[in-house]
Amino acid sequence: MLKRFFVAVWLWLKGAGIAVAKWFKNWFVKVDGKDIIPVRIGRWFKSLFVSTNNQPPQLVVLYQKDGTKSVLSSLLCVGAGIAIGLILLILVALFSKDLQANNVFRGFFILISGVFYTGNAANMSVGFDAFQLGNYLTRVTPLILTGLSVAIAFKTGLFNIGAPGQYLMGTMASLLVAMSIPATTATAQFFVWLLALVVGVVAGMLWGCIPGAFKALLNVNEVIVCIMTNWIAGNIVTWVFSGSQFVNPKSPGFLYKTNHFGIQNPRLGMDLLFPGSWADGGIVIAIVVAVMVWVMLNKTTFGFELKACGSNRHASKYAGMNDRRNIILSMAIAGGLSALGGALYFMNGQTEFQFSTTYQTLPSVGFNGIPVALLASSHPLGVVFSAAYIAFLEVAGTKVSSFADYNEYISDLIVAVIIYFAGFSKLIKDLLSTKRRKSKQVDAVQPTTQSKEA
């Protein structure tokens, strides 16, 4: 048995060794009828730009892919948003007495550099500030998750405007668990954290089920139920926490930070990467979840059913899929994702949860999930980037407000403009493809004219 194992390993090693040796040899000599590698690389580069073997240039193939066009149109939207931001900066400077031309330049510079801007009133500079970047990552974490929440609902043909409520319910449930179970040892604290996270997600899933069930079983528009459940959640949260022992007496209206009870997200090395900041493993978890959602949507039967239900509910039902189950499950997953965002953000250990105002003002992170999902055209991996960009703009906005007459709402304006243009993404994509189609038609016409001449 052992001998056979060693023989197998030896054979494998031999094979691998020969393959590596062949590869090195191939750099200089033809092997097995294949051209030497530099030639092949050259041919590959050529194929990027010139059509070979009746294949159009590979760059064109890439460009014609739907995904590429989506990315391009999103980038165009971002560009348009920034351009309008610049126009605004100039307009404000024109009408203001305190602002000069170089302020416009500086404001624009900050808008573009965002979290990397390390300058102050006297000088402008760009750099890697670990504290700033780490805190920025903690802001991105919940945004990715609420964005995913909205995106997965969009894929199922639902508009999940209930992310704020689900976010609040997740926060509430996980904070209740994290703060009420005493844990002293590091292991116990880790398990309490895990339990809190799971309870939070389950609470969010249940909360998300409500609009799903209303939509699937009672034929009630999910938007209206989401809005109602948002406000109910906001009130419940304030109700549950007001007067409880979790309220921090030093700052009324806020709860204790979770590290007061020894509970916080595992750092997963992020504290070493960004020393002194709040950065934690939440961002890693969020990105892993985004990948999982992508796999679920694109590589599993369930994901296919969700998308089928989103494309045409009746057709999917006709094809034998359970449309009601899919709607409810989709909303439940959406709720769980939002709740995970809330739980991760407020179990960071340094963040404080203000429970006293939720019954009047719903958390904006929940609503910001909508632009995040829209900018990414509901692609789970795109959501990671669009969340990062929207959080980036928020940071940039607060920095711009350090100048007189500029204020942080310029970033909100830019985000709004970007989303307005994102509505045209289909139009932009069409425009991008018509250009190609025209040139193709020209290609198709040319041979015939040549043959006529001949």
Partner: protein
């Protein structure tokens, strides 16, 4: 009782007219999720004009002090409506001309409105809100304003106190009457005129409407414009009623509530009136439960039960959900809403 009726009206009126705004857009085939944004723009423009007009050089404070403030109120209401209509063009342009996704466009407008308002408010007032209530007395000598006047928007009619007419004519806003008249007139327009029929046809089957010579896109522009005007108007009313005219780029999600009431009312004026009445009443109870004295024996019944205010806050939302659970099966959105009009489609 008087307080109950009057505060129910103050909560009900803005929601009612904004929900009707939603009907005009959606019945013409445009999903108007941007009601909230239109309200915010209306609120901002209204508050802005009151803020500007109270500047000493316009002498408006003298007009208001003379008790003629209602004219100012009327003009500002009109301006707010115009602002809402202009703002709605952004939605109709993207939805009709560019055939963009209407939910996305609406969401963008919902974000754009508070951003624009707060951006400008911060620039104008150097603080995050514009207060438009009692203008400061800028003249010489003591202020001529009547003492005890909470807001110059309100018509006092002190002499009606104690009569049957009190709940409806004393301490009322002129806008309440205007809104009710507007609501009735527009409902009649929607259901009893050819214009209304054409508008509704565009939301149900635009191709059929086109085949009999109705310009679908123009109808949709008009529907959205009316919607924007009513939304802006309702938004200004909302801040006058709830915050005495102080606008801070926020209407506490009232536009979404109006949207909910529109769906609740099944896209019909009658349902909307009922829905907003129910919602307004419950909302009023949630605010006043502590001092509400229904049978007049001097005991606030609900305060003695000892439930926290949050319970009463939840009630209106819960009630809407429960009613919807029973009526949802019959709910029917306009068939062609959200679908850009394409002549070639069957």
């Amino acid at each position: 009782m008087v307080t109950l009726i009057q505060s129910t009206l103050t909560y009900m009126i803005p929601l009612m007219i904004v929900a009707l705004a939603g009907v005009f857009a959606e019945r013409s085939g445009i999903i108007n999720i941007a009601l909230d944004g239109m309200m915010i723009i209306g609120a901002f423009v209204g508050a802005l004009f009151v803020y500007i007009l109270q500047d000493k050089q316009f002498g408006i404070h003298l007009i208001i002090a003379n008790g003629q403030g209602q004219w100012v109120f009327l003009i500002v209401m009109l301006l707010a409506a115009i602002a809402g209509a202009v703002f709605s063009l952004l939605l109709s342009f993207s939805a009709i001309k560019l055939k963009a996704d209407q939910t996305i466009g609406g969401t963008a407008l919902n974000m754009l409105a508070p951003a624009i308002s707060l951006f400008l408010i911060n620039m104008i007032a150097s603080r995050p809100y514009l207060a438009a209530d009692l203008p400061p007395w800028l003249g010489e000598g003591p202020s001529p304003y009547q003492s005890g006047t909470t807001s110059w928007f309100i018509i006092q009619n002190e002499h009606l106190k104690g009569t049957v007419l009190e709940p409806f004519f004393s301490k009322m806003y002129i806008s309440t009457y205007i809104t009710i008249i507007l609501f009735v007139v527009l409902s009649v327009v929607l259901y009893k005129t050819s214009f209304g029929l054409r508008l509704r046809a565009c939301g149900e089957h635009p191709q059929a409407a086109d085949s009999v010579g109705i310009n679908v896109n123009r109808m949709r522009y008009v529907g959205t414009l009316i919607s924007g005007a009513l939304g802006g108007f309702g938004g200004f009313l909302y801040v006058v009623y709830s915050a005495n005219g102080a606008a801070g780029g926020d209407v506490q999600g009232a536009g979404f509530l109006a949207l909910a009431i529109m769906i609740f009312g099944n896209w019909k004026p009658k349902g909307i009136a009922l829905g907003s009445l129910l919602f307004g009443l419950l909302k009023c109870i949630s605010v006043l439960y502590n001092q509400l004295d229904i049978n007049g024996d001097g005991v606030a019944l609900l305060a003695n039960i000892g439930l926290p205010s949050y319970f009463y806050n939840i009630l209106p939302f819960l009630a809407v959900l429960i009613v919807l659970a029973f009526t949802g099966k019959k709910s029917r959105a306009p068939k062609a809403e959200g679908i850009p009009y394409d002549k070639g489609m069957r």
